[in-house]
């Protein structure tokens, strides 16, 4: 099953991280970077982060909020929540199968 995130090509990995981070509440760019680093141990570069944000916004999976000073927070849309849920469920299924097979081998 392919989700909307798979259509993002090389950005699908960082997109999952960004959407997962925004699932915990609206965040601006720097807060996203720090949160992702904290929960995934991955440092997303600013260029990559904005590449993902632009695509997710274009797909309607996230939306910008009014500026807070020079920073602009983004939040998950309903479509974004659905897409993330589908994607993570699919990944979980794959991970479960892999782990089960590893355990029995």
């Amino acid at each position: 099953m392919t989700s909307e995130l798979d259509d993002l090509g090389r950005f699908s990995g960082p997109a999952t991280l960004v959407l997962s981070s925004l699932a915990g509440g609206a965040k601006h760019g720097y807060a996203l970077t720090k949160d992702i680093e904290e929960f995934a141990g991955v440092r997303v570069g600013p260029g990559t982060l904005y590449g993902v944000l632009v695509r997710l916004e274009r797909e309607g999976l996230i939306e910008p909020l009014p500026n807070e000073g020079r920073r602009r927070p983004y939040r998950l849309t309903a479509a974004g929540s659905t897409a993330l849920s589908l994607h993570l469920t699919s990944q979980k299924r794959t991970a479960d199968v892999g782990l089960r097979r590893l355990a029995t081998s």
Partner: protein
């Protein structure tokens, strides 16, 4: 809302009395933003600049950030200009397909021209030039008709010429739909800004080709006429043959000049489609000026060779003959053929892409 996270590291002090470090960071942020196109900066510039400030203020050198921003900025430029993106408007993709096709076709000619002049067998390598490639085979056919004892395909030069012609034909075939689309969209295209660089290159190309013609119809490689002087040979031919040879050589000159002008026009349009700022446009001007200077320099070399002969001219043939830059002929042939084929395939792919985009306009 979890937006409270912000950097507390060195250099990021809000309020009065900001340290000098902030000015350095601001300068770097401004430079990094230049990697992105203007339209993107208008929408995301301010917030992205703040993210860069936050990120750079806690990094000592920020090399990784610089590379990341440069890579993504260039990628964004290519996406927005329609060169990489399938989601760009059809008109944008058509324009980028046309420009890519023209650039690849021009690269085809330039690669052929440049590499052939660094071959040790310079006289054979010369047939890779587009005009020369086109004119060599009829000349060989004429020679074969006059000397039936010399079969057409015994000379390696004929194989090179046939290869060059085959590749040229593939590029021209790719260019046909492009030309149709170009004609259709000519009414709405902006032609004004392209005139000056094209005129500049046309003038330098004419200077170069005039020099080459002088060398060809004068004492081609030596003023003493010891080696390969074509003028005495030409002088011994009948009027019809002389007119024929003159036509072939003029055709070659025109083809070369057209290729150079097409290359420059496509290059300038591509640079402009990338929405570079006024600072970066200086590189465009510098690149155009240096290429024009090279052509004028080559024209000077031709003139020098025509007037004073090869031994005193910095000619590649002279250097190659003395083993300075000479490469085995098959290496040059292989490299030329490979690069030219790649350009031809790329041109065809761009052309197909353009045709698809044109249907959607």
């Amino acid at each position: 809302m979890t937006t409270e996270q912000s950097p507390t590291a060195k250099g990021h002090i809000d309020g009065d009395g900001a340290p000098n470090f902030d000015a350095n960071v601001d300068g770097r942020v401004t430079r990094l933003l230049c990697w992105y196109p203007v339209t993107w900066r208008q929408r995301y510039g301010e917030e992205f600049a703040q993210l860069l400030r936050d990120t750079l203020s806690e990094e000592s050198r920020g090399l990784r950030t610089t590379i990341n921003v440069a890579r993504e900025g260039l990628s964004t430029r290519l996406q927005l200009s329609g060169i990489l993106s399938d989601s760009a408007p059809a008109r944008t993709r058509a324009r980028s397909g046309l420009l890519t096709m023209l650039t690849l076709a021009a690269t085809f000619f330039v690669v052929a021209h440049v590499l052939s002049h660094y071959a040790s067998g310079q006289r054979l390598g010369d047939v890779f030039q587009v005009g020369s490639g086109v004119s060599a085979v009829p000349r060989q056919i004429l020679a074969t008709l006059r000397h039936p004892d010399r079969p057409l395909l015994t000379s390696p030069g004929n194989y090179f010429a046939l290869t060059a012609i085959a590749l040229c034909v593939s590029v021209v075939a790719a260019a046909i739909p492009v030309a149709i689309a170009w004609c259709r969209s000519l009414g709405s295209s902006r032609r004004g800004p392209i005139v000056r660089p094209v005129l500049l290159f046309a003038a330098s190309a004419v200077a170069y080709e005039v020099g080459r013609l002088m060398r060809f119809f004068g004492h081609s490689f030596s003023i003493r006429g010891q080696t390969n002087a074509r003028f005495p040979i030409l002088g011994s031919q009948s009027l019809g043959v002389r007119i024929g040879l003159l036509g072939l050589e003029t055709g070659r000159v025109l083809a070369d000049a057209a290729a150079i002008i097409a290359a420059v026009a496509a290059l300038v349009l591509i640079i402009r489609s990338l929405e570079l700022g006024p600072r970066t446009v200086r590189f465009e001007i510098a690149a155009c000026a240096s290429i024009a200077a090279s052509l004028i320099g080559l024209a000077g070399v031709n003139l020098w060779t025509a007037l004073w002969g090869l031994p005193f001219a910095p000619s590649s043939f002279f250097l190659a003959r003395n083993g300075v830059v000479g490469t085995p002929m098959w290496v040059t042939f292989g490299l030329c053929a490979l690069l030219m084929a790649m350009c031809a395939f790329g041109a065809i792919a761009s052309s197909v892409r353009l045709v698809r985009a044109t249907r959607q306009i």
